[in-house]
């Protein structure tokens, strides 16, 4: 009776784990990008391997075999994410970026226009005060530099803001 239950349980974990293995390996081939393939590899490393080793542990019973399998699960669950992180970090450092990613949108605050406006005024005021306090020659140089630099950054930020604003609307339109 018990052996039948254990067999059914290990069959179930084998089938579900095999499904995850198959889906993960299909994803490794079909997905468009390295950063998308990272997800597929993680599926294989966590769900597939874990479930299949769990099924083997059920078949092993309470013996040394199960202890070894538990050790394998432990090491794979420590080393798998670490290796994935190392590969992702190396790819990021080499300059690879996700597909269609333009800029780090999360780094810019949501109300883009107001922020850039305040930053503009701030830069202008700081430049003005610096120019007032400092000597004439430096004062003549510094505001010119700052006024030249500030509109550029403001333009870049508004560009990202408009991108960020347009992207979700197109997505929602596609969904509806």
């Amino acid at each position: 009776m018990l052996s039948v239950v254990i067999d059914i349980l290990s069959w179930a974990s084998f089938i579900v784990g095999g499904f995850f293995l198959f889906v993960g390996s299909l994803g490794m081939v079909r997905l468009v990008d390295f950063w998308a393939r990272l997800h597929a590899a993680s599926i294989i490393d966590s769900a597939g391997v874990g479930l299949i080793l769990f099924g083997m542990m059920l078949q092993g019973g309470l013996t040394l075999v199960t202890a070894k399998l538990a050790l394998i699960v432990l090491f794979l669950f420590i080393t798998g994410p670490t290796a994935s992180h190392a590969v992702a970090n190396a790819a990021f450092m080499s300059g690879s970026r996700p597909h269609e990613m333009v800029e780090d949108v999360t780094a810019t605050p949501p109300p883009a226009k107001k922020k850039t406006a305040t930053k503009k005024t701030k830069a202008a005021t700081t430049a003005a005060t610096k120019g007032a306090t400092k000597a004439k020659s430096t004062a003549a140089k510094k505001p010119a530099e700052k006024s030249a630099a500030a509109p550029k950054s403001a333009k870049a930020k508004t560009a990202t803001g408009t991108r960020k604003a347009t992207k979700p609307t197109t997505r929602t339109r596609k969904k509806t």
Binding site: S25, K68, V87
Partner: protein, 103 residues
């Protein structure tokens, strides 16, 4: 039971082989190789059960650890172009600061 799952693992390894050879960048290949190694660990375990000799699990355990070390070694080699030489590595890690260079 074990023959079924080992055949499935074989199938997945064959599919992973495609990405391993066709991966456009180095990192695709390294990722596929790491996953392939995980599948190999599973295969060694299931084949050991299939043969009635679960002692193969020692080899599987060793393979899991070596696989991780190998992945890190490949990544380190392609980042610094050399293995070992800890003192020289520190020099190459510490890239010249742009602020200090400006000073």
């Amino acid at each position: 039971m074990f023959s079924f799952i080992s055949l499935l693992i074989f199938l997945c390894m064959a599919i992973l082989m495609v990405r391993l050879f066709a991966g456009p960048t180095l990192y695709d290949r390294v990722l596929a190789l790491n996953t392939f190694g995980s599948c190999t660990v599973l295969l060694i375990g299931t084949v050991g059960f299939l043969a009635g000799r679960p002692d193969f699990l020692d080899i599987a355990l060793l393979y899991a650890l070596i696989n991780f070390v190998g992945t890190i070694a490949v990544l380190k080699f392609f980042r610094y172009r050399r293995l070992g030489d800890a003192a020289e590595d520190e020099e190459s890690i510490m890239a010249p600061d742009p602020e200090e260079a400006a000073k």
